[in-house]
Symmetry: C3
Subunit: 136 residues, 3 copies
């Protein structure tokens, strides 16, 4: 298993991991790639590499699960500024922390427009993403 | 890896892939099935085979992420009628493009009511779904 | 493949499965763990083990997909009290019924705060969760 580092600078942010991941799977002919985010306030998904779209995604996530609301988690840690992040936990529970992509002929079977996107929901932070391959 | 074709005719539409998939895994005794949608405006999930429920699902998806809104992606491509689809990208980023199902004794370990559902979010289109099996 | 039993008592409820799962994977050095919920009105995700946060999660799920609404699925089964559960099906279609976690050195590669959470959406019920491991 390999560990990739991801550095984010904004509270909500999308980072394209595709090129970084490509460099790490060329020794596998056929198999399944797992990317796993070992954090509870971030997630990973697959979507287009369009920055305007990323803004639309983050706007929608915030509209559905607002940053400020009467969250019990935030009230419990009311003295701790770093823990006012229930929105990030809730969004991570919906988007989830992993993607799993078939590998064929040494390449991820991503469609033309698909990119692997790290979703920061409570940044900026130094994050990790775990990468595992299973051979077929 | 196999490729299945899926043809959709409506803008938002649910298609049950379960029977099609069953025919393709009978040579595996134990393992993990991956279905991967190589598109950014569609998704795949697991749910009941109830057409009224499918309408409820699609209504909810549209209520949460409306077709028309001030999306930056749509504004960027304002001259292109085929690119007014930010809702589809955003929903695909939430529902995600794959499902992974254990296989035991040559069969998918689906519960009684579970079906594999392709979720078209920007149709009608000719779509593909990739199917991969890993033996245990 | 193993089967775990989960008993829920409330309509919406979060149950932490992490310790139960730990006891079942110690014979695997490296691989991929799949937890699969064979139900259409429940789901499984990964999040923090914080009960206040769980309440925030369930409140958000209900706010986004209300228990009562003009669902066609509920109208179709209007005489059956046990089938007034479109909200549960819709939420399960979004959160989805499986998680897949890398195993390394005999342990799940969960982050410090990550727990495996069963999400009951239409309880209380006796539920099952299937557990499968693939060796690397």
């Amino acid at each position: 298993m390999e560990e990739m580092k991801v550095k984010t600078s904004r509270q909500l942010e999308v980072k394209d991991l595709t090129e970084k991941v490509k460099g790490k799977i060329d020794h596998i002919e056929e198999g399944l790639l797992t990317l796993f985010v070992p954090h509870t306030t971030a997630a990973v998904t697959i979507q287009e590499g369009d920055e305007e779209l990323w803004e639309d995604m983050l706007e929608t996530y915030k509209r559905l699960v607002p940053l400020k609301r009467d969250y019990k988690h935030n009230a419990k840690y009311s003295g701790m500024s770093g823990e006012q992040n229930a929105h990030a936990h809730i969004l991570s529970s919906l988007i989830k922390p992993s993607v799993h992509i078939p590998i064929e002929k040494g390449k991820m079977a991503l469609g033309t427009w698909q990119k692997i996107l790290f979703i920061e929901l409570d940044g900026g932070r130094n994050r990790k993403v775990l990468l595992q391959t299973l051979r077929r």
